[in-house]
């Protein structure tokens, strides 16, 4: 041992670092993780902060809520917002009527057809909103079938947009319950189809349906493409119009819209906690 005394200090140093290394390594990766995380948070929050500050600067050299006052005093704000709420409700109702029985039927009767149905619900990712609008106008703008004057095309577009989210949500919900046993139990107790759907299946799917509903609501409320190109009043085109006319109110509306999205998704997360649901992006 003694004859290695020359290297003793080096050995001690090495031993010291060896003992330290795992921890050192972890700390380093921790610093890196924090760096990335903080970078991400800056990118997330800076635009939101900037928007909020900008919306307060309507009166020179002072921070006021003047822009919000102006925004809310415009009677058009409420009418367009109201229209969007109406479109959202119609979309949700039709989407539910279409998706819940279909998903239920797929689970109970025709599991073979599930990939087909799922593929169709994913079509909005293949046909972007602007292309679908184009197709809808071309297909239903001239005889034999004219639907241009009615909101049918708008709602149809929105329902299409909601298909992936709605189907995913309901499908996940149905997977967690034993559809076959429940249905057969209900049938053997003499229940009709309406009773089965409304009193057996629906209550079991409440959470799944709610998450689909909130997401659809958030998407329709801010949607711009369909409403603008089909020329129907809605919150999205209204915001765009204000953006072209005024300076500070658009940012105030932006904050309102963000709170709306945040509220819907927040409720969704609250409702579907633990359901393992993940959502894919909306209408850009």
């Amino acid at each position: 041992m003694r004859d290695t005394s020359v290297f003793a200090p080096w050995a001690t140093v090495r031993a010291f670092f060896q003992r330290l290394r795992p921890e050192e390594g972890r700390r380093k990766s921790n610093v890196w993780s924090w760096f990335i995380f903080i970078l991400g948070m800056i990118y997330f929050f800076l635009p939101l902060y900037a928007t909020f500050v900008f919306s307060l600067k309507m009166i020179k050299d002072r921070y006021t809520f003047e822009a919000y006052k102006v925004a809310f005093q415009d009677p058009n704000f409420f009418s367009h917002f109201g229209y969007s709420v109406l479109w959202a409700i119609l979309t949700i109702v039709i989407s539910l009527l279409l998706i819940v029985p279909t998903a239920y039927w797929v689970h109970w009767r025709t599991p073979r057809l599930r990939p087909v149905v799922e593929f169709i619900t994913l079509m909005p990712f293949v046909v972007p909103a602007v292309v679908l609008t184009f197709g809808l106008i071309r297909a239903y703008g001239s005889p034999p079938i004219v639907l241009i004057g009615s909101p049918a095309l708008l709602i149809a577009g929105y329902v299409t947009l909601s298909l992936p989210y709605m189907f995913r949500a309901v499908d996940t919900g149905l997977r967690s319950i034993d559809v076959r046993t429940l249905t057969e139990a209900a049938l053997s107790l003499g229940a009709g189809w309406r009773v089965i759907l409304t009193q057996v299946i629906f209550p079991n799917l409440r959470v799944a349906i709610l998450s689909g509903v909130f997401l659809t609501f958030a998407i329709v409320m801010g949607e711009f493409t369909f409403a603008s190109l089909l020329a129907w009043p809605a919150f999205g085109p209204y915001m765009e119009e204000i953006g072209a006319m005024r300076a500070y109110t658009p940012q105030a509306l932006s904050v309102v819209s963000f709170l709306l999205t945040w509220g819907s998704i927040g409720l969704l997360q609250l409702v579907s906690r633990g359901a393992g649901q993940e959502q894919i992006a909306g209408a850009h």
Partner: protein, 308 residues
């Protein structure tokens, strides 16, 4: 749905026998499809007929006769080629950028040893951010890096510049890419999080027991497993950006020549002076998006191999 399924309904007390008679087979088959009829009819009317009409009209001249001129024009007309080029470029840039940063962020939060509640926070926030798009997102970035924006003000104050006089405009490709990233990388985080969770501790331990370093682990174990998810999601992000219209329209208006913007303009008035060409333009988008989704599906299948 009030399907008159009298076959299974119990009449009286005794349940019917389970096995069905062979003669019931054919109505059964029809009934199975009948239950899905409303859904298929909806899809037919509002997805397939419009898409099909785009397809058919792409090959029609103004007088209704068959022609390939519209398709040829897609590859020869300057402004159309440029629109496709810009759209493809911006989609590729934001897909790769969003995928890289989104992956790093997801990795930092899930495997980087950060407090667990940060992870919940990030996932919730990603859910919101990936849905916060369109017009309000455009306004948010105008307030951030527009002419009177917060960050613009900071940069001008720090470096004592007048960016506008220098001919710098954010309402072009670079600026729009930064905006798109806002909904791109949260989507990456959302999709990569479960994949990263799927990496098992045993794999890392096995690698370490065999004498592998962290580098070895990532190079030979984790990345090969994650590669299909990574590539698949990048492709998805590409499609996500390629189909975007509202954000670009509200942010750049007509400053930037994207395919979606051109189609929107064609809807509002026949700017190409050729309805058939407009259809061909839309058909081109459908084709590119179909390829994108096909790639994504293939990658998802491969990724699913490791998920249990």
């Amino acid at each position: 749905m009030s399907v008159p399924n009298t076959k299974n309904r119990t009449i009286g007390d005794a349940p019917r026998a389970r096995p069905q008679t062979p003669s019931a087979k054919l109505p059964q088959f029809i009934l199975d499809w009948a239950g899905l009829a409303p859904f298929f009819l909806f899809a037919l009317a509002f997805l397939f007929i419009p898409s099909f009409s785009i397809f058919v009209r792409s090959f029609q001249a103004n007088d209704g006769s068959f022609t390939l001129n519209n398709i040829v024009a897609l590859f020869t007309q300057r402004d159309i080629i440029n629109a496709y080029k810009t759209s493809l470029q911006i989609s590729a840039i934001t897909a790769v950028g969003g995928a890289l940063f989104g992956f790093l962020l997801a990795q930092a939060v899930i495997l980087g040893g950060l407090p667990r509640n940060l992870r919940t926070f990030l996932l919730t926030f990603s859910g919101v951010a990936s849905n916060f798009a369109g017009v309000p997102l455009a306004f948010a970035f105008v307030a951030t890096m527009g002419n009177a924006g917060l960050v613009t003000g900071w940069i001008e104050a720090i470096f004592d510049l007048d960016l506008r006089q220098m001919g710098f405009s954010i309402y072009r490709m670079t600026g729009l890419s930064i905006v798109y990233m806002y909904f791109q990388f949260p989507l990456m985080v959302l999709i990569m999080a479960p994949a990263l969770d799927g990496l098992r501790r045993e794999w890392r331990e096995a690698c370490e027991n065999l004498g592998g370093s962290t580098l070895h682990y990532w190079r030979y174990v984790a990345l090969p497993i994650l590669l299909p998810s990574l590539l698949g999601t990048t492709i998805l992000l590409f499609g996500n950006a390629f189909g975007a219209y509202a954000t670009a329209y509200a942010f750049s208006g007509s400053f930037i020549n994207l395919v979606t913007i051109l189609i929107g303009a064609q809807i509002q008035g026949d700017v190409l002076y050729n309805p058939g060409l407009g259809n061909a333009l839309a058909l081109g988008m459908i084709v590119i998006m179909s390829i994108t989704m096909l790639g994504y599906t293939i990658m998802q299948r491969r990724a699913a191999r490791w998920v249990r």
